[in-house]
Assembly symmetry: C2
Homo-oligomer: 330 residues x 2
Amino acid sequence: MRNLRTTDQFVEAILRQDRAALAQGITLIESNARKHFSPAQELVKAIYPYSGKSIRIGITGVPGAGKSTFIEALGMYLCRQGHKVAVLAIDPSSTLSGGSILGDKTRMEELSKEKNAFIRPSPSQGKLGGVHRKTRETMFLCEAAGFDVIIVETVGVGQGETIVKGMVDVFLLLALTGAGDDLQGIKKGIIELADLICINKADGDNRRKAEKTKVEYEGFLHFLQPSTEGWSPTVMTCSALYNENIDELWRNIQDYEAFSKRTHAFTLKRRQQMKTWLNAMISDYLHDSFYGKEQIRERINKVEIEVVQGDCTVSEAVEQLILAYEESFK
Amino acid sequence: MRNLRTTDQFVEAILRQDRAALAQGITLIESNARKHFSPAQELVKAIYPYSGKSIRIGITGVPGAGKSTFIEALGMYLCRQGHKVAVLAIDPSSTLSGGSILGDKTRMEELSKEKNAFIRPSPSQGKLGGVHRKTRETMFLCEAAGFDVIIVETVGVGQGETIVKGMVDVFLLLALTGAGDDLQGIKKGIIELADLICINKADGDNRRKAEKTKVEYEGFLHFLQPSTEGWSPTVMTCSALYNENIDELWRNIQDYEAFSKRTHAFTLKRRQQMKTWLNAMISDYLHDSFYGKEQIRERINKVEIEVVQGDCTVSEAVEQLILAYEESFK
């Protein structure tokens, strides 16, 4: 990143929806270089007042659920309606492998050529807390650049869903037809995060099966607490491939938005998300600070064995480790 | 606690199953007085090698599921079979209210008079982490005193289930007949913790409904990942009031025990539980240490507001708070 813009130049360019500036700003935020941290934070701070004017949609689904086709169909539909759509991704597996679910833009060929759409792959590498922060801050930049629909995608692995759920206004589960064995592919706990469940590939011979699955999901949801107080998650079918029911999906999202704005859940959730994020980052920091200390790293495995063998109690072990930790600051 | 025994005296008396010594040992562990901490930890350490020779059973269920009657029926059945049964409780609500779900021994009138049974209410007051530690350590003492079946009970509120799940070998959900609306009373996520689900009150007119509920639970479990790799949670009905199927319940528990010992899941789980407990206590300590600092308490609310208003970024806020925290040790 040579010829880095000043914060003012960045803000000015992003606000007039300059895509090159937006992309460069995101690259700055994603940088792991220490020297980029301060200018990146200055940028986020300067941009923040212009952020927030969007509906943030989280999407998850098992591999094979057709997320790319679905996001492309929804994205194209929204662009045709005059919206500006940014697609971001969180891929916890990429933090390990360095790969990325959205690395290949050809996954959404049509949408990636659309001038009112902006697709950004998951920030690869770095720790999960960092990826979390970077995606959130990227979202703020996109909103300031006029994108009024933000789609954050995640795959059904690791902690992706919880992280995405914690940064969006509405969380959508993209599911497949088939019950029982097929549904086991969905990680436990995911369904109860969903505000909206959409069964994809409801076309041709599959249509009836999809309707059956819809009923099964509705029965299943009956057992769960609603993700938002007073809201019964909507279950619907669609065919992203044939562009069927994409308009109904958007109506359902807007219904949820209207509902949550009416009950003030919308604003409260966003505020709570900021606080939760702050405290999660503190928690991450404390954890890393503790387990990162040489004095702790040297002892922790030994102490764990001692505890299992009964050579010291858990309380004694904690006391001993904490003492070593606090000594390290002196 | 005057005339406190020495650690050696405690160990000797507990090993020869002296109930007064056991009760006094537990009182020592439960004490919040600073001067009792060291002798309590010495006792736990000295007792630990004699602990572990039991099956630890966690039991949860909604209020009204008949937990007291059920535990009394199971406990009496086991005592008649020659077992020694200790009943402990974790009640997250008691840490707030100072009350306790087992405060009233008359809840299990017959069992409380049985010489091979030992009932101990939840340690009231104190913080959840402390309650967790105290119940675990009490369990070790009971095992050393010859109790070979430990039942840890919790009510379906707060974090009770997760804590109990983290200290037992097998986790049992006591459920009621009736599906749909009734089942909503069960906190989401509880069912997937269960190794065994027992639908109580399957007597009289309710018997057929109970069988129906059993089938519904089996269908529901189909959607969830098993709590133990390779184990399909058993669903059964019983009537604690009429002592029906209590023998089958015990057989199911023994089946699970045999299964998990064969696959080594039993030992691995116990080891993992100790490590998880250690790290959870560290995490608790760090959290308390951070949020307990005057320097943090003075700032945190202000910083949260600043973050929501955009006066500083989350990263800046974290950096600022951590700096204040680390300064406090110098």
